[in-house]
């Protein structure tokens, strides 16, 4: 008898203890979460922080045998030097021009296409939408060699020099941005209630008016997400400019930093890190202000459709 009643009494006590342990284990789970989040945050933020540290150092301090993780004599020398040299500013201008124009081209192509594909069902529209998605999966590393040859052929045939001009990137980058932007815009447009455009059409609006007066304003968050995506992709692209442009005055930022600041085996790390940090600044600033749109764009690529 005693052996039976004992566990019951114990169970009664354990229930009470378990209530306490649930909240206690939650508290511990929270502490552990913060602990590991700090560790992961250090891992994820280490390289950009180290870029900043190095960018504030003189070359003498960089090559000295002191603690590399600390700046003993902070200086803005690297920033001043970079921002007063012509070619860095040229890279920046090229990057900005290319990105802005590519974003414009992308939006002009992908928004009407996404509207037509999501709302105006026509022969082959479903296949085309799938095709757009598949195009997005084709990496640039598969296309750069044939495109290089095609552009060389175009020069031979027509005399138009496409290679080694910064604006050749305006033709190339849309292949990376348009499929994805069209794809996520199809998702955003498809989520707009049908009643909205039906009402507009009954009221006598043309398709173009339905797009500009209803769809674009309603799907504005999606449009912003797509714009951010197109901009960051254009800004970050490295392979196409490396393959298609060579003259210093035609380079965009990523390639410019890699090819001009690294001279032979001499690495001017202070300037490279400054250049890289300034080059990373525009996407980071956009991200800081429009984080929610940025994340919405990221997640909708795979979830909508």
């Amino acid at each position: 008898m005693a052996t039976v009643s004992e566990p019951i009494a114990e169970r009664g006590g354990a229930t009470r203890a378990r209530y306490g342990s649930v909240s206690r284990s939650r508290r511990w789970a929270l502490r552990w979460s913060y602990f590991f989040l700090v560790i992961f945050a250090i891992f994820f933020l280490l390289p950009p922080i180290y870029m900043l540290i190095t960018s504030l150092k003189t070359s003498a301090e960089i090559s000295a045998a002191t603690n590399p993780w600390w700046v003993f004599a902070p200086t803005l020398e690297n920033y001043i030097e970079l921002l007063t040299t012509d070619h860095y500013l040229v890279f920046f201008r090229n990057s900005a021009l290319v990105s802005v124009i590519v974003v414009t081209i992308t939006m002009l192509i992908s928004v009407p296409a996404a509207f037509a594909l999501s709302r105006m069902k026509f022969w082959g529209s479903a296949t085309l939408a799938t095709g757009v998605f598949l195009t997005y999966l084709v990496p640039e590393t598969l296309l750069f060699i044939p495109l290089f040859k095609i552009f060389a052929e175009v020069r031979n045939l027509t005399g138009i020099e496409l290679l080694n001009n910064w604006w050749v990137l305006l033709i190339l980058y849309p292949t990376l941005t348009v499929p994805f932007c069209t794809w996520i815009m199809i998702g955003y447009f498809a989520s707009i209630p049908k009643e909205l455009d039906e009402a507009a059409l009954i009221d006598g609006a043309t398709w173009m008016q339905t797009l500009t007066k209803i769809f674009i304003p309603v799907a504005l968050p999606g449009l912003i997400a797509a714009t951010i995506f197109a901009f960051t992709v254009s800004w970050a692209q490295f392979l196409y400019p490396l393959a298609f442009t060579t003259s210093t005055d035609q380079l965009v930022l990523p390639v410019g930093i890699v090819t001009t600041l690294i001279k032979g085996d001499v690495f001017n790390w202070g300037q490279i890190m400054t250049g890289a940090l300034l080059g990373a600044a525009p996407p980071l600033i956009i991200y800081a202000f429009l984080m929610d749109y940025y994340i919405a764009g990221l997640t909708s690529g795979a979830t909508k459709g």
Partner: protein, 306 residues
């Protein structure tokens, strides 16, 4: 659509309706035309042209059939590139997925007030252009001034040849890949976690399920689709990656870190053998096609679920 279901009604409006339908499809076609032209001229045509190029000799004057492929099959470097591309992509994606999953859980665990801040911080590696952040890693891995080695030597360990030794260089390439890609997984998984109803966890907690059971029986089944899509996406991107290897190791030491993209660039653009470079990059196709088929299947499945 209703005009088609009532063919007997109003003969005159039907005619104008048909006219209208024709006009609608014409407008739709015109709206998609720029997209079609872009894809046809700059994606489909070059892809087909790559196949043609791959059958030519170096001077692109003579048809050599499968000559380039035979040549590649006979080269040890080619097989090394195949192996490395697969190993890099698979290892990196597994670790990205794991780290992304773990970090997403930690972010999900903390009070929602602070989640935004942490999420914002943890996504930074994905936002920085890969070429720029790889430069930072290159500097952290520098043979003589490596800041990591400074820490290692100051706690009494031996300095590591991060990019100098073949195995360490491979490790470094994978590490940078993980660093750039894991935040993306974190964001995707966090979004998926948010869509799992809290009641499920509460019910499981009351039933006495431990954390492992909760993950295995609730979280994973609920997130299966998004895990698959994200992993496949990342597999394609990592497999075809160029920036990281190009900047970090340049394929060295002794081609031990080359992937398809970097080797194709070296052969096709820098060494000027365009047909051989095209053949190298064409070998990515079957791998990518398999991943694409699975992604498409999952997306269609997802579409019909929702």
């Amino acid at each position: 659509m209703s005009d088609l279901t009532h063919p007997a009604d109003h003969a005159v409006p039907r005619k104008s309706m048909r006219h209208y339908m024709q006009r609608k499809s014409t407008i739709a076609f015109l709206m998609t035309l720029p997209l079609i032209v872009l894809v046809a001229l700059l994606v489909i045509y070059p892809a087909g042209y790559a196949v043609h190029l791959a059958t030519l000799n170096k001077g692109m004057t003579k048809f050599v059939g499968f000559g380039n492929f035979e040549f590649l099959f006979g080269r040890e470097t080619f097989w090394m590139v195949v192996k490395q591309s697969c190993v890099f992509a698979i290892t990196a994606v597994i670790f990205k997925a794991l780290i992304g999953f773990i970090v997403a859980h930690f972010v999900h665990n903390i009070p929602s007030k602070g989640q935004r801040k942490w999420r914002g911080m943890l996504l930074v590696p994905w936002v920085i252009p890969p070429a720029m952040s790889t430069l930072a890693w290159l500097w952290l891995f520098d043979p003589s001034y490596s800041a990591f080695n400074w820490i290692l030597t100051s706690i009494g360990l031996e300095a590591v040849p991060w990019t100098g030794d073949a195995d360490w260089a491979r490790f470094s390439v994978i590490l940078v890949n993980i660093w750039i890609g894991a935040p993306f997984f974190m964001i995707m998984y966090l979004a998926a976690l948010k869509s799992v109803p809290d009641q499920l966890f509460e019910a499981a907690l009351i039933d006495g399920a431990n954390w492992w059971q909760r993950i295995w029986y609730i979280t994973l089944p609920m997130m299966r689709n998004i895990i698959a899509i994200t992993a496949l996406f990342s597999l394609i991107v990592t497999f075809a990656n160029f920036d990281i290897v190009r900047i970090l190791t340049g394929g060295g030491p002794l081609d031990k870190t080359h992937m398809f993209a970097t080797w194709a660039f070296l052969v096709g653009i820098e060494s000027g053998d365009i047909p051989l470079g095209a053949s190298v990059s064409l070998f990515m196709m079957p791998f990518l096609a398999i991943a694409a088929v699975f992604i498409l299947r999952d997306i269609v499945k997802r579409g019909s679920e929702v």
